[in-house]
Structures are given as structure tokens and as C-alpha cells.
Symmetry: C2
Subunit: 354 residues, 2 copies
């Protein structure tokens, strides 16, 4: 059934796939909601966005995204409150960031009204895919790919911007063990580390696989030049707590400017907490761990919200972290989720109602 | 028409598109030969490779290559000699290198016999797409992409290896002007710069666009840490000639181990030329340019073979290079092409007959 909207072309699914999904045993990223959005950039312009049933699409084997990784993405979530209202969290920050990423990857920026209107329409059409209850959400994946056929190494003249969504439970169910990187690295000065460029992620799979073979779950990347400063994890910014001070690295051209990170810093400042945003020397963390002053490390990102680090390996030594009763990480996780699920005041207007 | 081969499944095209192509006005990477190869990795195994007519394929919007740039590629060429025989140049080096790239990108290695048999079959089927004559070739693009649907940031369990080909004239028709990088960078220590990973290329489009706006054609990348050492260009290794000495950077984890580079070094050594493979300080090149001792700079890669640099910009100063009568670059270009087109002895067995 086709339906016209001033901004979008909408075709609804004939039959929802909702009943086929086992929501009690969700595997993250394996089930997609009924609808998706796609919008093509052709002849120098973004065409009218299309909302259509989720499904496969045809591409020439020569499209540039396959060869040159000219692609960017975002990750966001929709939450349902007890009154069945659906909320997004700081969606314009995701739009701004994908446009920052796109600029670095020579992809044209995507218009705000197309983005917001598509999100609203998708959330309305697929609202039954957003489940109530702590930890449940609909994960939203906007992305843009270079679709011009051509094997010469230059930017594409055609792109496709898409939004697909999938139901999610808590991404990491338990605390993680991490490796502090000393050999491999994630990004270079003057590179694309601050962008959610597709290739940044594929490049981490192999070092992460090696870390997993050692019984660790993830890597905390350090600066590529010296490996002396903590940067971030694969899909999370990282916070350290030394006694009652919260530390995190400043963003720069190697580190993603995370929205969860930014929100935690704001909440911590609201509470008068001592937050230090400065280069975090690995040595300082090791010394604090040895002195018993390193109280916690946690990762912050949309997928996981906040995930506790239970220990880390550095220089072939494994450091256990204490289990904290009054964990900062768990405190901010609750504060963020209370805002996201519309259970608490939202002093900074982060919630966005569908 | 289907035909069985012990190693491959072959379906030939019903109607060749050869006559539709204007070989006098070829745009590189815009026309694809009649056949392609694809081979899927499923359940831990590469399935039987398929040779089929070139054409579009269906992919889910969630396949990992779109989101995480888990993809690698190669570039090679087929040449036709005066007796209508078709030749490849060091094809096993390309296989070895794509497998090195794949390892770094957590992609399973591709079997040698599938690769060689596919190349032979494609070259036989599409031999009329390989045109005779200086500068003409069939460009061959093997690549592998992550095809598992799934938006969680981890390596794919499914891949597709493909080979597509397209007729090519000389890639760069004229000498280029280059920018010596001082702000942006191409790769980090401990990163993926030595791999032909898709994302390495998309990441260069924006800085290259900025260079083009200044009237320059390409960038010579320097090391990300200090920008004091010359590395390579976007798709070429770089050689410098100071008086009669040839200099080029050693390969490392930031620099692609080019087959053209390796071949030139061998030929230069065969001729008793003074070749220095060591870090090339930018300052040394600038000083040599000022002293009139910098005779030439040239890029070396499969697409271009060898391309002369006519001048470069560094620190907002443009340095012109002299026009050389006895250019090393043009000498090695001729020597390489004489081998590639079967016009000269091939002492190192680089030619591979189809
Ligand atoms: C590299 C990287 N760092 C940090 C984050 C966390 O950012 P956000 O809180 O906006 O999800 C992400 C995930 O988006 C990421 O990919
Ligand atoms: C980054 C980079 N450097 C150098 C080269 C040259 O390598 P080759 O001579 O094997 O084509 C290429 C092209 O393949 C490349 O992509």
C-alpha cells in the first residue's frame, strides 16, 4: 500500500514479521523491523526518501563502498515508556555526527528534515517493535554508502543513505575484561578516528580476535605514536575512576565524540563531581591500580549504555578491579536510563518524543 | 549455457557486450567485461567458485561490509602481445598480498588454486576484452567483502570473494603535481596501512579533494607521527632520484608492499644502479630540490605503471622538477612494459601466460 507524505514516499509492509521474532532470545543485530528508509544521492542531490519494507537490494559488484570503504554510520536507540510512548535520545546529535563523519569521508551531508521525518515515520510504523521494560530498545542504524559503480580510487558521485532498525536487549550482559593496546592501534593523527567511518571498525576485528584468544573481551586503544595514553574502546568511550575523581580522555581527531560520554560528563558536573578531561596516562592508571586507588573503569556508548570493566591486561599482567558498591558507572547508567525511559526529569531536554 | 569444470561452475554470457564499448574513449572503471567470478565463504569454507555474466547482485542492507568496511581488494592487469597471447604479471604476488590483507582484516584466506583457475578462465572467456597496443590492458579487480547480515561490530561469518575486470588505457595520461602531506595522514603504526583494506582508500578522498582544490593531483603521505618522512601516494609507491641515486621508503606496517615497486628495485639492482631503501626525510628532498640535485620523483603502481611527478607543494611552496631526458622513471616504465607485453626477456619469470 502506497501513501504520500509531503517529504517521504511511504510503502507499508503487507504482512508484519513481528510474530516471527523470539523476543526472549534476541540475538543483537539479527532481526530487522518491518520498515527501512533509503534515500539516494544522484546528480548532486538527495532524492525523496523512501520508506519501504525491509529487504535486500541490488548492487553492482563495482559499487565503490565494496572497494574503498566510503561509508559512515550511526547508532541510536528508541525506548518505550510505561505509557507506550516512544522516545529517542538526543537524535540531532547523531545527525550532526553522521554529517561530521560524512564530511571527512567526502560524502555529502544529509538534510535534517529528511532525517528527523524518516525517524518519526519509522518509529510510528514500527512502534510495536519497541518493547517496554528495562534494557529493551529498538536499535536504530542510519548509514550512508557510496553506490556509484567504478573501480577508480576517487570519491563516488552516488550515495545511498539508509536507516534500518533492530530490536535489542542489553548489548553486554556482564562486566568485561579488556586489553590495554600496546601493539596494534585504532587511528592516526590526521586520520579518520573521530568519524564513524566503516573501515575503523573492520580494522579492529583482527586485534580484537587476538585479545579474545587471550580470554579478554575488548581492547582499550592507546595513542598510536607512543601507546602511553588511553583513548577509547572499539565502540565505547572509556572512563576511569581514581578515588572519587572521574577521568576521561579529551576528544580529538583520533577519538569519537560519544553522545553517552558527553551526557555522563554533563550529569557528573550537574552533581558537582570532580571530572578531569585530560590525557590519561597509562602509567597513572597502572600506578593507581597498584596503590588500590583505581576504583573502577567503565565504557560508555549507545549500544551498551555503560559497561563495567572487571579487569584489564597490560604488559602481560592482569589487574583485577574491585567490585564497587557505590559504583559511578552503575549510578550514571541508572540516571541515563531513567531519562531515556521517561522515568525521571530531563533537565537538558535530551529526550525526543515520537 | 552452463559448463562444468572440476574446480569452477561456469555460466557463459548469452550475448557479449563488447561491441557496446567505445575503446577509443575509455573511462577507467566504467565498463566491465562480460564475465565475473564470485565465491562465497559459508559455514567455514569457500564454496565452489562461480563464473557468470557480470551483473548486479542482491545484498541485505545489513551486510557487514556496508557498516564495518570489512573488505580487501587487489589490482592487477592482463596484457596482450603481438601474437594475441594474454599475459599476467606476477599474479601470485597479488594472491599472496590479498591474503596478507585479509588476515589483517579478519577475512579468511582465499585458496590459490581457486584464484589461479578463476583468473585463467576469465582471461580465456574475455580475451577479446584485452586489447593489443601500448598502454592497453584489462584491469583485474579481485576483492573480498563481508556478507553476513548483522549490525553488531564483530567479524563476519560469511564472505564473498569476487573478480571483476575492466578494459583500461594508461591510468594517468600526464605527469602529476603532488602535495607533501603535513596535516592529514593515511595510516598509523599498528594500523592497516600495509593492507589493501577498503577503508584506507575512502579515508583519502577528502584530503585529496582539498589538494585538488589547490591545483594538485595527489598526495604523498608522510608518517602520521611527525610528517618528517615520505611514505607513499594513494595508490602508488614513491621513488626519488637525487643525482643518480634512487631512493624509496622501506615497507612497514603503514606502507603497501607494491609489486611495481618491488619489480623496479629488482631491475635497478640488476642494472647496478645505486638504490637506497631507507626512510626518506622530507627535509633531505627539499634540500636536494633547492640544490638542484633532486632530478625526479615518480610513482609506481599497477594502475599507472610509472607516473612522473612534475612538481610538489610543501609548506605552501611549490617546487618544480626539471624535465629529464634520461629519466629513470621512463626507463623503468619501458623496461616493465617490455616485459609485460612480451617484448623483452623476462629474467625473473614475472610473466604468466594464460
Ligand atoms: C569508536 C566509538 N567510540 C565511542 C562510541 C560511543 O558513542 P555514543 O555514546 O555516541 O554511542 C562509539 C559508538 O557509537 C564508537 O563507535
Ligand atoms: C596504497 C598503495 N600503494 C602502492 C600501490 C602500488 O602497488 P602495486 O605496484 O602492487 O600495484 C598501490 C596499488 O596497488 C596502493 O594501493
Amino acid at each position: 500500500m502506497s501513501q504520500l507524505n509531503s517529504l517521504l514516499n511511504i510503502t507499508k509492509t503487507k504482512k508484519s514479521r513481528l510474530e516471527e521474532v523470539d523476543f526472549d532470545n534476541l540475538q543483537f543485530g539479527k532481526n530487522y523491523a518491518d520498515h527501512m528508509m533509503y534515500c539516494d544521492y544522484i546528480d548532486g542531490e538527495w532524492q525523496k526518501p523512501v520508506i519501504a519494507p525491509y529487504g535486500p537490494m541490488s548492487f553492482e559488484p563495482s559499487v565503490k563502498v565494496f572497494h574503498y570503504g566510503q561509508a559512515v554510520f550511526e547508532g541510536m536507540k528508541a525506548f518505550k515508556d510505561d505509557h507506550d510512548d516512544v522516545w529517542l535520545f538526543r537524535p540531532e546529535d547523531n545527525l550532526n555526527r553522521i554529517n561530521i563523519s560524512s564530511k571527512r569521508m567526502a560524502i555529502p551531508e544529509f538534510p535534517k528534515e529528511y532525517f528527523m521525518e524518516s525517524l518519526k515515520t519509522l518509529m510510528q510504523l514500527d512502534k510495536d517493535w519497541v518493547k517496554k521494560g528495562q534494557g529493551n530498545s529498538l536499535y536504530i542504524r542510519p548509514f550512508a554508502i557510496a553506490t556509484e559503480p567504478g573501480v577508480s580510487a576517487s570519491e563516488s558521485n552516488q550515495y545511498r543513505f539508509m536507516i534500518i532498525t533492530c530490536p535489542a536487549k542489553a548489548y553486554y550482559s556482564k562486566p568485561v575484561k579488556v586489553l590495554i593496546a600496546q601493539d596494534y592501534s585504532r587511528s592516526a593523527d590526521g586520520g579518520v578516528g573521530y568519524a564513524k567511518a566503516a573501515g575503523n571498525y573492520g580494522a579492529q576485528f583482527y586485534p580484537t580476535k587476538l585479545a579474545k584468544e587471550k580470554g579478554l573481551d575488548q581492547i582499550i586503544w592507546t595513542d598510536a605514536n607512543t601507546h602511553q595514553y588511553m583513548e577509547e574502546a572499539g565502540t565505547m568511550n572509556i572512563f576511569f575512576r581514581i578515588n572519587d575523581k572521574l577521568l576521561t580522555a579529551p576528544t580529538n581527531d583520533r577519538i569519537l565524540d560519544g553522545i553517552t560520554r558527553r551526557s555522563i560528563i554533563q550529569l557528573a558536573k550537574d552533581e558537582g563531581l570532580d571530572v578531569e578531561i585530560d590525557r590519561v596516562e597509562v602509567k597513572r592508571i597502572i600506578d593507581a591500580a597498584k596503590a588500590g586507588e583505581l576504583k573502577e573503569i567503565f565504557g560508555a556508548g549507545t549500544a551498551a549504555t555503560i559497561v563495567a570493566v572487571e579487569g584489564f591486561e597490560y604488559d602481560d599482567t592482569y589487574y583485577d578491579l574491585p567490585e564497587m558498591k557505590d559504583s559511578f558507572g552503575m549510578h550514571f547508567k541508572k540516571r541515563l536510563q531513567d531519562i531515556q525511559y521517561n522515568r525521571a526529569e530531563d533537565p537538558h531536554n535530551w529526550r525526543f518524543k515520537i
